[in-house]
């Protein structure tokens, strides 16, 4: 559960970065994550590479994909439509589908298992539960990514600009901030986060070329649940979503995972679309 929660949180954080830096929900984040996970699994299991190199290649490929999405698809379409939402949404759904098909063509259409980053000979026992090494790795990596990102947003020059863009893109443009560059950086960061999340989670559930869609949906719900007020909000949203999913499928059967997710989305989007931790604006 913790591991799934970490995963949803990371994908949610990927959304958060692009939402702040470029002002829209990048639905292709799930397929980036899948691409990185499937690429590294394919390199390890089919091509016989060592895990660290495979992960690095997966991350690099994902960053490239993410930046290309902005440069080749989102930017020209937003420029033409003048910031209307629907064309960008359609385009990003098309990217989602294209990346899934690209991965299916490159790495085969059969799902692959992932490889844990660390082993313990004997899992640690805490009470009734056994904790294996990958859970600890997931938690540590997730916390590191979240901490690094929030520090970067607070202290680095580009991080500050990105927060300014997230607050008010027009104002930031008027002040002469390099919006175009910030957008590319936001997409690259999202690619980096997705690239880390993919192989990290592949070791738990495996990964197939069609996994990207559900990653996108769950990450999006994690972000909306948590809210966009703070970079830590997706972490809360991801944990909450994972808890609800696991509980409902544990008590009512596995079909209820999908029903519960749908119910959360309908209820939460309608009642509190700004999430639990909304940014409060002083009026």
């Amino acid at each position: 559960m913790i591991q799934i929660g970490c995963f949803f949180s990371l994908v949610g954080l990927g959304y958060y970065v692009v939402l702040n830096g470029a002002g829209f929900f990048n639905f292709a984040i799930g397929p980036y994550t899948m691409f990185s996970g499937l690429a590294s699994s394919w390199l390890v299991f089919i091509q016989g590479w060592d895990l660290p190199q495979a992960i690095l290649v997966g991350i690099a490929a994902t960053i490239v994909l993410s930046v290309l999405t902005e440069l080749l698809v989102v930017r020209p379409i937003e420029r033409r439509s003048g910031g209307e939402e629907l064309p960008a949404l359609i385009a990003v759904v098309a990217v989602l589908y294209a990346i899934a098909q690209l991965a299916g063509t490159l790495f085969g259409r059969r799902p692959l298992p992932g490889r844990p980053w660390f082993y313990f000979e004997n899992p640690i026992q805490v009470g009734l539960a056994y904790i294996d090494a990958q859970v600890i790795v997931s938690v540590v990596v997730t916390l590191l990514v979240f901490t690094a990102l929030s520090l970067w947003l607070t202290f680095s020059p580009y991080g500050k600009i990105m927060r300014a863009v997230g607050d008010n893109q027009e104002a930031a443009r008027t002040l002469g901030f390099p919006i175009t560059r910030v957008r590319v950086i936001a997409f690259a960061l999202a690619g980096l986060i997705a690239g880390i999340a993919g192989p990290l989670f592949a070791s738990k559930a495996g990964v197939g070329f069609e996994s990207g869609l559900s990653y996108s949906l769950f990450g999006f719900i994690a972000l909306v649940l948590g809210g966009t007020g703070s970079p830590w909000a997706p972490l809360a949203g991801g944990m909450l979503l994972a808890t609800i999913q696991i509980m409902s499928s544990y008590f009512f059967g596995s079909v209820w995972l999908n029903y519960a997710t749908l119910a959360i989305a309908v209820v939460f989007f309608a009642i509190r679309p700004e999430g639990i931790f909304a940014r409060r604006v002083r009026a």
Partner: protein, 322 residues
């Protein structure tokens, strides 16, 4: 003068497309493989035409069309195999159920738009497929409903060929009706609600009502497509109604051209060509299709028919005496 010309254009469109559909029926009949391709084109066209009203005209990306397709197909299959009623009852029951589901879902999501609406409707589509697999008593679970008897109308057995022909004709009827609907006061209101919602409300039209009506209409069309698909195959399996089919069809109106429902049909034909028909694309067909969609979205937003018609206009304006 202009309205007369436009009317002539509409009649020309109606009859030339009828001729094309009749040629297609004559061409595929008797050949089982071609008939399979034709029913796939017809089914995809029906989904795309169903999407056309709320999505292309109204600007609301609702993606649960696999559910409406499935409801239409399962209504026919369940009624033909498990009840004493004739299969014919399956079509209206499927359409009514789909419309009801679309209205309920539309009502639950009435405050959502854009990304939020798209993700809730995708989640609904996924939940529908898992419901099909989980409720084995009604739907036969993962195995589906393997075979049901060939339907009979007035003593005539509805063979593969006849149903395929009917399905293709239905596509034509629906596309022609939608082309008229698009120009009707309702169609104008739906299209205007996309950009000028205040103006539409100011003229005394409730946007929430026309959105629900257009969603229900789309669901009815998709359900009809599902029923025809089930009748041709004389069986249903849940995999046919997974969310993937929505991703294949949602781009078809954009690929073919948004300014007429025939763009959706042309797009559906191209999808089948890419993903099913040509063996040279076997492995990479869907990838090529996805890339083609991206190219059209980025570089050619009016779609194939849009460019064809402006090309035609250019040609006729050159030919006309000045």
């Amino acid at each position: 003068m202009i309205s007369k010309l436009r009317q002539r254009g509409a009649w020309l469109e109606t009859f030339s497309t009828l001729a094309l559909v009749l040629i297609a029926i004559a061409y595929v009949q008797g050949d089982v493989y071609l008939e399979d391709v034709a029913i796939l084109v017809a089914t995809y066209s029906m989904i795309a035409l169903g999407l056309y009203v709320p999505f292309i005209m109204g600007g609301a990306l609702s993606m649960s069309y696999n559910a409406y397709l499935g409801i239409g197909a399962y209504a026919v299959a369940i009624i033909a195999s498990k009840t004493g009623l004739g299969f014919g009852w399956g079509l209206p029951i499927g359409m009514a159920l789909s419309a009801a589901v679309a209205v309920i879902l539309g009502f639950a999501t009435r405050r959502l738009s854009g990304f939020f609406l798209a993700s809730v409707t995708v989640l609904f589509g996924i939940a529908f497929t898992s419901w099909l697999i989980a409720s084995a008593d009604l739907t036969g679970g993962g195995a589906g409903i393997p075979t049901f008897p060939t339907p009979v109308v007035f003593g005539v057995k509805l063979t593969h060929t006849i149903v395929v022909s009917i399905a293709l004709l239905l596509v034509w009827i629906v596309a022609v009706l939608l082309a008229r609907l698009r120009r009707s006061p309702f169609g104008v209101a739906v299209r205007a609600s996309r950009r000028a919602s205040t103006a539409v409300e100011a003229s005394g039209i409730r946007i929430s009502t026309i959105v629900l009506v257009s969603l229900a209409l789309g669901a009815i069309i998709a359900s009809l497509g599902g029923s025809m698909f089930a009748l041709v195959n004389e069986s249903v399996i849940p995999e046919s109604f997974a969310i993937d089919i929505v991703f294949l069809t949602v781009f078809t109106p954009l690929l073919g051209g948004q300014s007429t429902p025939w763009g959706a049909v042309l797009g559906a034909f191209l999808v089948v060509l890419f993903t099913f028909e040509l063996t040279m694309f076997k492995e990479t067909g869907t990838l090529l299709f996805a890339l083609a969609v991206l190219v059209v979205l980025v570089a050619a937003p009016r779609g194939l028919l849009g460019y064809a018609s402006s090309g035609l206009k250019l040609l006729t304006s050159r030919l006309e005496p000045r």
